[in-house]
């Protein structure tokens, strides 16, 4: 077992946190990337970050307000982007800048808690505790349960929302489910990966997976695997070369994307549809 040759207990906790974070960010990222909502996930990540800093200022547990802020951002940005009075880019951009402003406001209001606040910037996978892992575990279980139960609706909406809506799929419920789910994933990953880095773990592994398959099922599995690989390789690099863990994880995830883009059969000259695609039973 991997645990047996891990020299310290804290590393075992970090490995477990990396596994769970990689899985949940990989799953949520697969939907976000396919729906072209990468910027929206950046916005929700900053909202979670602002919420966590607000909690530090008020003396609450960061997770509660991180979750509230990220869900609130998803609830505001979704309709703004949908109603079309503003372009989605503009409406998400406005909320994004507001969240950055709030984050720095709360950061400035709590000078005595600067160390805790900085941890929320970069994350601290090496200090992941029982609460962090429990929260990540519950989030992972819910993600797997929901994706398993509603895969056909999710696939229809993620790949062609208007078509799904026209066929009678409650597309708005599925879309908001994905947005709120992403908010929960980001909030629960925040203490481990940090507010400034969490969206790279959402986007890079999923974007890498999209380079390699035309099957959403396979894309989810690949994306989660790349997420876990990013966390574990980044963690190992951090341990052996004394590098910042969060930064190492992000850089590894970017390297995985570069490798996937280089090897992508979608960029080759022969008909790309000949790649293996899922044929449902």
């Amino acid at each position: 077992m991997i645990w047996e040759w891990l020299p310290h207990d804290y590393l075992m906790a970090a490995v477990l946190a990396g596994l769970l974070t990689g899985v949940i960010c990989g799953i949520a990222g697969a939907f976000i990337v396919t729906m072209h909502l990468a910027f929206l996930s950046v916005c929700i990540a900053h909202a979670a970050f602002a919420g966590a800093l607000c909690a530090v200022w008020l003396g609450f547990p960061p997770l509660a307000l991180a979750l509230a802020f990220s869900l609130g951002a998803a609830a505001i940005v979704g309709p703004l982007a949908e109603q079309g009075d503003l372009s989605p880019d503009a409406s998400i951009g406005i909320i994004f800048t507001l969240m950055i402003g709030l984050a720095f406001l709360f950061f400035g209001l709590a000078p005595e808690a600067r160390a805790t606040s900085l941890t929320l910037f970069w994350g601290s996978i090496l200090t992941a505790g029982g609460t962090d892992i429990t929260v990540l575990g519950v989030t992972a279980a819910m993600c797997l349960l929901l994706v398993g139960g509603f895969f056909k609706e999710i696939q229809a909406v993620v790949c062609h929302r208007e078509t799904a809506m026209a066929a009678g799929v409650p597309a708005a419920v599925v879309t908001y489910g994905i947005l709120f789910g992403t908010g929960a994933v980001i909030a629960s990953s925040l203490p481990v990966i940090g507010g400034l880095l969490v969206y790279s773990l959402l986007i890079n592994p999923a974007a890498a997976a999209l380079q390699l398959t035309y099957s959403l099922r396979r894309m989810i599995v690949l994306s989660a695997s790349f997420g876990v690989a990013s966390c574990w390789v980044g963690l190992a690099a951090s341990y052996f070369w004394d590098l910042p863990a969060g930064a190492s994880i992000v850089i590894v995830s970017a390297l995985i994307f570069a490798a996937a883009a280089g090897l992508s059969p979608k960029r080759r000259r022969w008909p790309s549809w000949k790649m293996r695609a899922t044929k449902p039973a």
Binding site: T34, H36, H160, A167, G168, A171, W273
Partner: protein, 265 residues
């Protein structure tokens, strides 16, 4: 006759633009109705108002007596087959043609039910019927325009709705594919007796089976009547601003009209 579709004083204003202006129309079950008019006349808005995807500013819509705009409108939409205008999807989309066509069954299946063997059989049958059975495992984004429209028709076939809405299904595709798509729509009406609304701005692409026409202009229902009365030079000129000769032909079960036009002076 029973009304398949009933629109009363339907007005749609979106982003300060008038899409539809007080449109009232009653369409009986089993009718094949052509909707024509120039670009911007409100044809697409009419279809999306009917299937509940475009919010109404005023008025009401009933499809089989049910409101597609009310709470649970998605259940009404499950009984309306909508083929939108051709919009090419992202070529990297992670979904195959077969999986995409299955989307048509999902509204009827409901939450938590997985598609069964019978559902997949219907999907394969529909793909073969529209002539793209051999493309079932291909990624959706890798289809040509004509293939994509056939897949869209297969998707509404498996939905087995009582009402079909076609929005320019034969535009932006080559003449052979256009002929095939129009033939498919007409055979669908012949075989199932379903109610069909068929939108086009391209008169030669108007199926012969459309015996009743709605002429839209500036968001208003400008004329509503039989094809013979409305598809004639004076009406076409008033609608499009063109002098036009209309030459129906019926060659080999052919569909459409031929326009010879010169700009109105």
């Amino acid at each position: 006759m029973s009304a398949a579709l009933e629109l009363r004083d339907v007005t749609v204003v979106r982003q300060n633009q008038l899409g539809l202006d007080g449109v009232s129309v009653h369409i009986n079950a089993g009718e094949f109705v052509g909707v024509i008019g120039p670009n911007g006349a409100g044809k697409t808005t009419l279809l999306t108002a009917i299937n509940g995807m475009c919010p109404l500013t005023r008025g009401s819509v009933r499809v089989g007596g049910r409101d597609p705009h009310g709470w649970g409108g998605h259940r009404v939409r499950a009984g309306i087959g909508y083929v939108p205008q051709l919009r090419r999807p992202d070529p990297r989309l992670p979904i195959t043609v077969r999986e995409s066509v299955m989307t048509g069954r999902l509204g009827q299946l409901g939450w938590l039910k997985r598609p069964g063997r019978e559902d997949w059989r219907k999907v394969d049958e529909a793909l073969n019927r529209v002539g793209v059975g051999e493309l079932a495992a291909r990624p959706l984004g890798q289809l040509s325009g004509g293939e994509y429209q056939r897949a869209a028709i297969a998707r509404v076939l498996v939905q087995e709705p009582g009402v079909y809405l076609f929005d320019e299904p034969a535009s932006s595709i080559d003449p052979q594919a256009q002929h095939d798509v129009i033939g498919l729509v007409q055979s669908l009406h012949r075989d199932t007796g379903a109610t069909i609304l068929y939108v086009t701005h391209d008169l030669p692409a108007l199926p012969m089976a459309a015996r009743r026409l709605l002429l839209l202009k500036d968001g208003r229902l400008w004329r509503d009547g039989p094809r013979e009365a409305l598809l004639e030079p004076r009406e076409i000129r008033a609608l499009y601003g063109f002098e036009a000769g209309v030459y129906p032909f019926d060659e080999g079960g052919g569909e459409g009209v031929v326009l010879r036009s010169r700009a109105a002076r």
